[in-house]
């Protein structure tokens, strides 16, 4: 899983049917200090996240299939699974 910041919503009217019920958000991976780390990517939202929220993002398809319960052929790979309240980094 990755710690990310929600950049904003992504709208797509033409998409694979597996995405029909899902909200898509662009997320930006962060380092331990909250700075951007690496390119942004797209995830479905399973935690009612909002723009600017720090979130935990699952980036593996089997876990996503377990939580979405849409069957074994769901082509979704990343999902926001939690809102981060705080991160403590040891000095």
């Amino acid at each position: 899983m990755r710690c990310c910041r929600v950049v904003g919503p992504l709208w797509a009217s033409v998409k694979h049917p597996a995405f029909a019920r899902h909200t898509l958000l662009v997320v930006q991976p962060l380092d331990e200090h909250g700075k951007d780390a690496g390119p942004s990517f797209v995830a479905i939202d399973r935690a009612q996240a909002g723009v600017g929220d720090k979130v935990i993002v699952l980036t593996e398809g089997n876990g996503v299939r377990q939580i979405t319960q849409q069957g074994d052929l769901t082509p979704i790979r990343s999902a926001i699974v939690g809102i981060v309240d705080a991160v403590d980094v040891a000095p």
Binding site: V7, G8, P9, L10, W11, A12, S13, V14, K15, H16, A18, F19, L24, V26, P39, S40, F41, V42, A43, V51, G61, L73, T74, P75, I76, R77, S78
Partner: protein
């Protein structure tokens, strides 16, 4: 999943079984500001995307799951055409 811009079409007459009829496009992965984030890649299209379209893709094993039949040798599939990205 990640964003990309369709740059062109790949024509391949001879393909592995399961890929017959699959449309393959050349895609530049980008971030939400449409800045390139990596190397150009070939991706199978499931949504009738065309050159210039901003799309989102799914990679790795899940790419094959977007196709029918699904147990096919692909590792990137275009699964949506992006209308807009909020900031």
């Amino acid at each position: 999943m990640y964003l990309g811009i369709v740059k062109g079409t790949v024509v391949a007459e001879r393909k592995a079984s399961g890929l017959e009829g699959a449309k393959i496009l050349l895609v530049q992965p980008v971030d939400e500001r449409k800045q390139p984030t990596g190397d150009l890649q070939a991706a199978v299209d499931t949504v009738q995307a065309g050159p210039g379209d901003l799309v989102y893709l799914v990679g790795s094993r899940e790419a094959a799951l977007a196709l029918n039949p699904w147990f096919v040798p692909v590792d990137a599939a275009i699964v949506g055409i992006v209308d807009g990205v909020g900031a």
